[in-house]
Structures are given as structure tokens and as C-alpha cells.
């Protein structure tokens, strides 16, 4: 028996097909059946999306769900619920687990847990190196066959130059991207916040921008030499943006992403010494924020990823040196981007959706990211005008820590549909 869903009256925005108009969309058996259907059976379930935005489901290029090993931070089930509440229909799951995801069995574990959780599509990022030790390549081919969609040791950066080169060469066989977090560890060791005037005054050890800039320079040079697929992210510095822009201008097909917190809050938040502002990449200065905003608007930065790094409440209730980096951000990503980015020159709703959906689908090579007829029916419905106040304790995530706690944001995901099924309904 076919299952059908008709969404009417909404502003349909599909950057992949250059659609931005009020339209109806019919979903049948988990696929997009038609736009503005003519004849629809009267008994089809209808969702009135008048005043709302109807977009392809969001896709996150790198979340941490922390299972197995750190279930106190997040489980695949709680992370999936958070993703759905944030409008994400697909996520790429990092391997910050214990054991890490460097074997086909580990990939299968995540996939099985995701099936049990139901709802969001959980894709696996396989480890790039065995045991994430940054020394020897993991079994990239076996990971590919097991279903991995990308390789990374994230959030740990790949610091071994030779390993990165070997990986970019070898992974071309499988046409999967290598995702690397740019960070020269010898420069950032011990740092807890952006290395600027605020860190100087507070006496906190800084994370210098050079640590990111230098890593980006190395990564893009190796990508250029090998022709491998490299995604850099998340980035947070003016220097990184400048390098990425120049490399793209030369036609090198690298891609890059940014986290929402890097687009809104600056390092002065750390004056409170509150560990919820200890995030990675760190909150940087206003000049970096403005550069990143412009880079998202002009497409230099292809995608926005939530940067979801949940950490248990008790771990964040500590002094800044001990408290781990991280926050829950899946449930605030869309609202943060809408609140802080739509006022930026040349930014609009179509670009917001492109950065959250269309571009990530292209980078990761996963289904979704568009509403073309015949594609999977992953849809996010947004109320663009509603205002709401962030309360971390209300999150579906196990982690209540967010740098945006108490902020009033504009716009919110009201419904998330995965494979034609309503998996989250804010009402």
C-alpha cells in the first residue's frame, strides 16, 4: 500500500533546481512524486505549509554521536532525535568513539543502531587511519564496501603529511572524500580559546589562527598534487578563507564548511569563563566572523555543518582547562544561520538551504539535497518568522551545553520528513 503526503501552500525552495516559489509537493512511497500535482486523491494526508518554507532535508557533514564508548555524551538514538529536531534528514557520523570506526564491523554497528533509532539517515565516516592513531591507513576499501561515505579521523586532525598524501591518492579508487579538520597541533597544544586580546587579558592559552591557516595551506597543496577529494572543515579563520578562495580560483576542486557558532559569537563570550563557550573551532574575533559570513554568502565556503560535539553535563561543569571542547548544536543550526546570516549582504534563504542541504549532499555524495521528482522524499519545513529562546535543557540531545543558551533566535524547524514519513513535528 502506497503512503502519500501532500504539502501545500509553502514557499518551496530547492536550490538544486533553482526553484523558489509557492508550490505544492507530493511525496509517494518515500519519493518525490511531483511538484504542483494536478490530480490528488482526496484521502491523501495533507500538510498545510502556508507561511512556511519547504526545503530539501538538511545534511550534516560531521556530527559526533559518541556511541559506542561515550554514551553519557550522546547515543545514536538521542543524536538522531536531536538531528530530526534540527531539520536534518541525513548526518555523517564521525568516529570519535571507543572503539573507533576503523573496521567493517564498526560501520555495521553504527548502521544497526541507526536503524533501531529510526528516523534520520546516519551515514558513517570511516577512520582514515587505523585506530585513529594517524600512522597507518585504515582499510579504506573494506570501509567503503561496508558503507562508509567519507574518511576522516575527525575531530582529530590528520597531522602526518605523508599519511594524508597517501590517503588522498588511495581513496581516489573509491571516489570518497577525505574530511580533515585543519589544525597544526604543535601550535595549538594546550589552547582553550582563540588566541587574541581576550585570551591575553584572561591569561588563557590561545589557539592561534596560524595553526589553522598552516594546516589548510598544507592540505590544499597535497590535494592539488594528488587530485584527491578533500573537504576542509570546519574552518574558522580569515587566513583559511583566503587560502581556500585562492585555491578554488585556480580550479582545484576542494570544498570547505563552517560551523554556525563561527558565524555569530566572538571570543569575548569567554570573559564569563563559562565552559559552554569552549567550542571547537574556537569562537574567534569579530573580523574573522565577518570574513566567514562573507565567504558563506559568496560560496567560497560551500557548506554549513552543525559542529555537533555533545559532551555530558558533568564534563562541562568544570573549569576551562578540564572541560572538553564541544556543545550541542544540531537543534540550533538552522535558527542560528537564519538569525545571523540573512542580514549579511548577498545572503538569502536559497543560499541558506544550499549550504545546509544541496552542497553537503554533493560533497558527501549521498542522496538528498534536492526535491527533484524521483528522488528521496527528505523534506524540512521551516517557520521563517517565529522567534524562540534557546534552552539547552530542552534539547533532545543528551548534552544541554550550547553557547547560544538564552539567545532569542528567529526561524525554526517545524517538521522533518524522512523518506516521506513525518519523523519530527514541532507542533
Amino acid at each position: 500500500m502506497s503512503e502519500s503526503l501532500l504539502i501545500t501552500g509553502g514557499r518551496l525552495i530547492d536550490p538544486a533546481n533553482q526553484i523558489d516559489r509557492v508550490a505544492s509537493i507530493l511525496l509517494v512511497d518515500g519519493m518525490v512524486a511531483s511538484i504542483d500535482p494536478k490530480d490528488v486523491s482526496a484521502d491523501v494526508r495533507t500538510i498545510d505549509a502556508t507561511g512556511k518554507i519547504v526545503s530539501p532535508g538538511f545534511i550534516d557533514l560531521g556530527v559526533e554521536f559518541r556511541e559506542p564508548g561515550f554514551e553519557e555524551d550522546e547515543t545514536i538514538a538521542s543524536g538522531s532525535a536531536a538531528a530530526l529536531a534540527g531539520g536534518f534528514t541525513s548526518v555523517l557520523c564521525c568516529s570519535s568513539t571507543q572503539p573507533c570506526i576503523d573496521s567493517p564491523g564498526a560501520v555495521e554497528f553504527v548502521r544497526q543502531k541507526a536503524v533501531q533509532a529510526g528516523g534520520v539517515r546516519v551515514h558513517v565516516i570511516g577512520c582514515l587511519s587505523k585506530n585513529r592513531d594517524g600512522d597507518q591507513l585504515a582499510e579504506l576499501g573494506l570501509l567503503y564496501e561496508a558503507g562508509a561515505v567519507a574518511y576522516s579521523d575527525a575531530p582529530r586532525p590528520i597531522t602526518n603529511d605523508a599519511l594524508l598524501k597517501r590517503a588522498l591518492e588511495y581513496a581516489r579508487m573509491f571516489n570518497l572524500p577525505i574530511i580533515n579538520r585543519p589544525n597544526v597541533m604543535s601550535l595549538s597544544k594546550g589552547g582553550v580559546m582563540h588566541d587574541g586580546q581576550v585570551a591575553l587579558v584572561l591569561g588563557l592559552t590561545g589557539l592561534p589562527t596560524e595553526a589553522e591557516d598552516l594546516a589548510v595551506a598544507r592540505d590544499v597543496r597535497i590535494a592539488e598534487a594528488t587530485g584527491g577529494r578533500l573537504h576542509i572543515g570546519p574552518v574558522s579563520t580569515m587566513g583559511a578563507v583566503d587560502l581556500i578562495r585562492r585555491v578554488k580560483d585556480r580550479g582545484i576542486p576542494i570544498t570547505a564548511s563552517v560551523c554556525p557558532h563561527s558565524l555569530c559569537l566572538d571570543d569575548s563570550e569567554l570573559r564569563s569563563f563559562d565552559a559552554r563557550f569552549k567550542v571547537h573551532p574556537p569562537l574567534r574575533s569579530r573580523r574573522h566572523i565577518e570574513t566567514l559570513q562573507a565567504a558563506v554568502a559568496d560560496g567560497t565556503i560551500d557548506a554549513i555543518q552543525s559542529g555537533h560535539m555533545p559532551r555530558a553535563r558533568e564534563k562541562k561543569m568544570n573549569d576551562l582547562d578540564v572541560s572538553p571542547f564541544g556543545s550541542a548544536s544540531l537543534e540550533t543550526t538552522l535558527s542560528t544561520v537564519a538569525t545571523f546570516m540573512l542580514s549579511v549582504s548577498d545572503m538569502n534563504w536559497s543560499k541558506v538551504i544550499s549550504r545546509l542541504s544541496t552542497a553537503p549532499a554533493r560533497i558527501a555524495g549521498v542522496q538528498g539535497g534536492c526535491l527533484s521528482v524521483g528522488t528521496i522524499a527528505d523534506v524540512t519545513i521551516i517557520d521563517p518568522d517565529v522567534k524562540w529562546t534557546v534552552r539547552g535543557t530542552d534539547f533532545r540531545s543528551r548534552c544541554p551545553s550550547t553557547p547560544l543558551d538564552g539567545h532569542e533566535l528567529t526561524a525554526r524547524v517545524v517538521m522533518t520528513i524522512v523518506g516521506g514519513k513525518v519523523c519530527f513535528d514541532h507542533s
Binding site: L200, L202, G203, D319, L320
Partner: protein
């Protein structure tokens, strides 16, 4: 020791803070109030030697998560001089060694009925965290390289007692500015009272960013020495450095140690200060440390006075 009669203190500016966390957030008037009260308490206690029962019945807990000799004893004596009881806590062998967070440890101590928690910790901002979590007064006795407000106050008090003013003086902080909480406390306290502050040391220990914040940055001690009214010689904090910021102690001493030769280039009435513990032969030679320009031991005495002032003022601040 004699029991002094009750005294009446003059508070020149209304004090409303229940915590003393740093000097950066204090106004010039608030800093002057602390100094004035410290002066009065020093006088009333006969140079911090006698007891007055201004805070009888109250209890001060010293929660030191880092080693300390002079600051811990100074706070203890300050509390006792004012008639308060003291509780001593060290992290070694405590519940923190069993995995308890320092916040929970502090809450436990507070539950025993203390009025102040005096805390020292290696991480910047920990007193601020405690101030959010505790109901009693929180006094910062040093949080990593961030701040050490009572040390800054005692340094400033010592200068003011000798010169009668702070405004218009040129004060150089020499040494490990990067890792020094004393430096930051002095920078804010002195600048708010109108002094010209120079931070001096090798570029690996003295960031140019201090210049962007309006302070003079110098890397050559001999060049600035003739202009200075006060030199505060800061210890190299080897324990806080992840990498050696200069080639050798010998080279550092050659460039920055205050010695007899350099004293000859200084103003005739220059004040030589050091927060201690001093490393003789590294930042200061014995002839200078023990010489007529040195006020290092006066600083120690004034430490008790400013800590009495801090305890008194915070205890009497209104509870919001």
C-alpha cells in the same frame, strides 16, 4: 598581641561587591576604597600585628588547589586579625584526589557554614565559576595566569605608601608577563589609578597585543630603566610554561636581572618590588633584593592589610 578596641572605619566609596575576583572589573574608586580601608586596618592593628574583632563569629575557608605559602598564611592571618575563624583545605589528599570536582568540593566546604571561600587554582576563571555556584563570598587568591587581585592591591598600596600617589608614576613590570597573574592584577590596578605601565621582557613572554590595549611594551630593560619610578620584578613561571621561552636562565639574567650595574642607571629613588618567591640571581641579585630600594618585605606586611580589607568589605556588602 593585644586585643584592640572596636574601631570605626571610613569607607570612602560605597562597596557593593560580595566577591573579589579580579582588578580588571573594579573601578578606580573601588580600588582606592580597598587601599584606604587597608591603610586604616594596618594602622588599627599596629602594622597588622594586633587583633580587632570586626568579623568575630565568621569563618574563612582557604581552598588552595595550588601550592602557596605566603598568600595562604597571609589570608589566614588577615582573617584571624579580624577575629574570624579559618578552615584550611589543600587539594593533596582531599576529595579532589578521589575524583570530585573542585566545584563540588567548594560546595561541601560552604555547607559547613563558611562566610568566605578564598580560592587558588591553576585554571583562569575558577573563582568566577565558584562565584556563580556558591552563596558565600569568593575571594580570588590567584587563578592561573589570569589575576591575583590582592597581590596587585598590596603592590599598589606599597607604592602609594612610599610615593603618596599612583597617578603619573611610571611602573615597569619586568619578566614573565605571559604567565603572571601578578602582572595582570598590577596592569589593571595601576592603570585605573593613572600610572603609566610598561610591560618588559622578551617577546616570547611579553605580547605586542599589550600595546594594542594601550600599554607600553618594551623588550630592552636598559632603555626604559631611567624613566621608571617603580620596577616590579616578576618571577619566571617555569611551571606554567609548555616550552622554554628563552635559551637559558643565564641569558635571561643577563638581559633582565636587576643588578648593581643596572641600579646605577635607575632613578635615585626607584622602588624595587617583587611579588615573591624571588629567585635570587635570576630576576634580581641579592644586593638589590636586600638593598635600600627594596620594599619586598613591606609588600608582605601590606598583604595582610589588603586581605583584611577585602574580607571586611565583601562581608559587609549587601546581599542582592
Amino acid at each position: 598581641m593585644t586585643e584592640a578596641a572596636e574601631i570605626s572605619l571610613t569607607i570612602p566609596y560605597p562597596w557593593t561587591r560580595r566577591h573579589l575576583l579580579d582588578l580588571e572589573s573594579l573601578s578606580g574608586d573601588e580600588i582606592r576604597t580597598l587601599l584606604d580601608v587597608a591603610d586604616q586596618l594596618k594602622q588599627a592593628t599596629g602594622g597588622c600585628r594586633n587583633k580587632i574583632s570586626l568579623l568575630a563569629g565568621k569563618t574563612c575557608a582557604n581552598l588552595f588547589f595550588e601550592n602557596s605559602t605566603r598568600t595562604r598564611n597571609s589570608f589566614s592571618l588577615a582573617a584571624k586579625r579580624l577575629g574570624a575563624d579559618t578552615v584550611e583545605f589543600s587539594s593533596a589528599g582531599s576529595s579532589t584526589a578521589k575524583g570530585e570536582t573542585f566545584v563540588d568540593t567548594a560546595k561541601t566546604i560552604q555547607a559547613m557554614g563558611v562566610d568566605w571561600v578564598v580560592t587558588r587554582h591553576c585554571t583562569p576563571g575558577t573563582p568566577h565559576l565558584l562565584a556563580r555556584e556558591l552563596e558565600c563570598c569568593v575571594l580570588n587568591a590567584g587563578d592561573g595566569p589570569h589575576d591575583h587581585p590582592t597581590q596587585g592591591l598590596l603592590d599598589i598600596l606599597t607604592i602609594r605608601q612610599h610615593r603618596g600617589r599612583i597617578e603619573g608614576l611610571t611602573v615597569a613590570l619586568v619578566g614573565d608577563i605571559a604567565h603572571s597573574r601578578t602582572a595582570r592584577a598590577n596592569i589593571w590596578g595601576l592603570s585605573k589609578l593613572g600610572a603609566h605601565v610598561i610591560v618588559c621582557g622578551p617577546p616570547t613572554l611579553v605580547s605586542e597585543r599589550w600595546g594594542e590595549l594601550g600599554f607600553e611594551v618594551a623588550h630592552n630593560l636598559d632603555e626604559i630603566l631611567p624613566r621608571c619610578d617603580v620596577l616590579n620584578l616578576l618571577r619566571i613561571q617555569f611551571e606554567r610554561q609548555s616550552a622554554r621561552p628563552f635559551p637559558s636562565v643565564h641569558e635571561y639574567a643577563n638581559l633582565y636581572a636587576m643588578n648593581v650595574e643596572r641600579m646605577a642607571k635607575a632613578k635615585s629613588d626607584i622602588l624595587i618590588m617583587a611579588p615573591g618567591p624571588i629567585n635570587r640571581g635570576v630576576e634580581i641579585t641579592p644586593e638589590v633584593a636586600d638593598g635600600p630600594h627594596s620594599v619586598i618585605l613591606e609588600q608582605v606586611t601590606n598583604g595582610i592589610a589588603v586581605r583584611m580589607a577585602a574580607l571586611y568589605l565583601t562581608a559587609n556588602a549587601p546581599i542582592s
